[in-house]
């Protein structure tokens, strides 16, 4: 048995069907977690195939706070701990939890605290977004630069004597092939 993991995104309305299939395949329920992202809350349900060691993580993405999701405690009773926790910390509602604490699982000073984005986190996200944007812009500029240079060469070759242009093209191809060989 070799341990492997994978993440698979599934639509929210296929969750019950996916979980039922895991139950039928006798996969072991591992956990449910939530992540508060920029575009909404992601839920990740993890199951392990005990025959192969595959840890499959099913992701339901970009849920709004207050969304109603079906509880999986009908198939996996032990999930009640996580569904109650996610309800209290993230504000996702689970319909039909077998042992439902109705928001009293944790005694919290702030409702749904994991959806509160702290100034430090916001600043870190903005900085990371700026760095990523700057890197993408730099890469795009480098590509455009390469394209502009190619266009200039084509214009020069068009103005040349055809025989000479053919020789220049052949030399350029040999140079490109050599550079590619050296890269490999």
């Amino acid at each position: 048995m070799k341990y492997t993991t994978q993440f698979t995104t599934i639509p929210a309305d296929s969750l019950s069907e996916t979980v039922a299939a895991c139950k039928q395949r006798q996969w072991r329920y591992v956990q449910t977690l939530a992540v508060n992202g920029e575009e909404g809350i992601d839920l990740i349900y993890s199951f392990m195939d005990m025959a192969t060691g595959l840890l499959e993580n099913y992701k339901v993405e970009k849920l709004a706070k207050g969304t109603h999701m079906p509880s999986i405690t009908g198939d996996f009773l032990e999930a009640f701990v996580w569904e109650n926790e996610i309800h209290d910390l993230f504000g996702i509602n689970f319909d039909g939890i077998a042992i439902d604490f109705h928001g009293a699982f944790y005694a919290l000073a702030t409702p749904e605290p994991m959806t509160v984005i702290s100034p430090a986190q916001k600043a870190a996200r903005e900085k990371a977004a700026k760095v990523a944007a700057a890197k993408a812009a730099k890469e795009a500029k480098a590509k455009v630069g390469q394209g502009a240079a190619a266009d200039d060469m084509e214009a020069k070759l068009a103005g040349m004597d055809p025989e000479k242009a053919a020789k220049v093209r052949a030399a350029m191809e040999v140079k490109a092939a050599k550079a590619e060989k050296e890269e490999k």
Binding site: Y29, V35, E78, F105, Y106, L108
Partner: protein, 362 residues
């Protein structure tokens, strides 16, 4: 049918190492229903990833729980290393496993003492915790800390164990073994211990699978699953590893499984000490996890499988860090085991899942 009475158990109870509340619906000394409640030590530690960078958070992770400190720091570091594609040197992997197995030894011996105290065997509790002190002394000599070790970092470990210290570790473990065998034999063969544990809190193999139980709690019901079987890290270099299983399914079976796991951990440490490779104990880790990169990891803590999840956001702070601990997975199994038990057996059944509520609530 008798009159149903609801008796509150906890959050403060002499046998509970940590606060856990159960509403026990009792009819004529039989528990007909048990409704658990936790949340007394929820500290919101996972939210601290927003303000502690991925190197600093190791120190938060190991403070989730005193008993599982080494395990959580190891599991967290491995998850971040997976996220960032960091390869830890072989020597560091061996050192991590040695400290982790020492942690398993001290955790199980601690639990054996608590279990003995739960049914009034106070002298056994004293002996177990006296023996445990020798393991904590080893921790102090090799890491500087008895409980919170602060020895794991992202990329490896911060301290090495030299040959002289390693020889001392092996010598102490060999010295512990004889005394431990006396304790173990007393626990598993004494008729008064068996009277309080055999047939108590029985969970069948099917129930254990149905409820996705993990750790010694599940292995006592013959569930053949231990994360160490996957052979990750230094566990892959062991000559042979087989989980300790029992068919008993009751409190006695859980005692036996944990007793034998202590001996197995001693053997693992001896084997890895003999094979210890030379080399670096850490690699430098630079940069930050990529935006939207995510990774998950599992680790066999003393109480069972622990699941870790991390997601990056391009900065040095993680977007999300999540630990799903074994006790939280076993709560449903505990509720099932309490169903139909005698009221006097409640504390024994609760203790045999080896509850670590600090881990459960974070």
């Amino acid at each position: 049918m008798g009159k149903a009475t609801v008796i509150p158990f906890g959050p403060q109870h002499p046998v509970l190492p940590e606060p856990l509340h159960l509403d026990l619906v009792v009819e004529d000394e039989k528990v007909v229903e048990a409704i658990p409640q936790i949340g007394f030590v929820h500290r919101g530690l996972e939210k601290l990833v927003e303000t502690k960078d991925y190197n600093q958070f190791v120190y938060v992770a190991e403070r989730i729980c005193g008993i599982c400190a080494m395990g959580h720091s190891l599991g967290y570091a491995e998850t971040v290393e997976q996220l960032m594609g960091v390869e830890v040197p072989k020597r560091a992997q061996y050192l991590r496993v040695i400290w982790h197995e020492l942690s398993r030894i001290h955790s199980h011996i601690l639990w054996l003492g608590l279990a003995a105290d739960a049914f009034g065997f106070e002298s056994m509790f004293m002996h177990c915790w006296r023996l445990r002190e020798r393991v904590l002394t080893l921790f102090e000599k090799t890491t500087g800390g008895r409980v919170i070790l602060s020895v794991v970092c992202v990329g490896g470990v911060v301290r090495d164990i030299d040959d002289a210290q390693m020889a001392e570790v092996i010598s102490v473990l060999e010295g512990i073994t004889d005394e431990y065998l006396q304790i173990m034999n007393t626990l598993i063969s004494d008729y008064s211990v068996k009277n309080r544990t055999v047939g108590v809190g029985y969970l069948s193999h099917e129930d254990a699978l149905e409820l996705s139980m993990v750790g010694p709690f599940a292995r006592a019901s013959n569930v053949n699953y231990d994360v160490r079987q996957f052979g990750k890290g230094a566990y892959g270099d062991l000559s042979d590893f087989q989980p300790i299983l029992s068919n008993e399914g009751d409190c006695y079976g859980r005692v036996v499984v944990r007793c034998k796991e202590v001996l197995q951990s001693i053997d693992i440490i001896k084997e890895l000490a003999a094979k210890m490779p030379a080399g670096d104990i850490a690699v430098p880790v630079k940069g930050a996890p990529a935006a939207d990169a995510e990774a998950c990891n599992v680790l066999e803590q003393p109480r069972g499988e622990c699941y870790y999840y991390a997601r990056g956001n391009g900065s040095k702070y993680l977007e999300r860090m999540r630990m799903r601990t074994p006790t939280s997975q076993n709560i449903a199994g505990m509720v099932k085991a309490l169903d139909g038990c005698d009221f006097a057996d409640v504390n024994m059944i609760v203790l045999t899942i080896d509850p670590c509520i600090s881990c459960t609530e974070r």
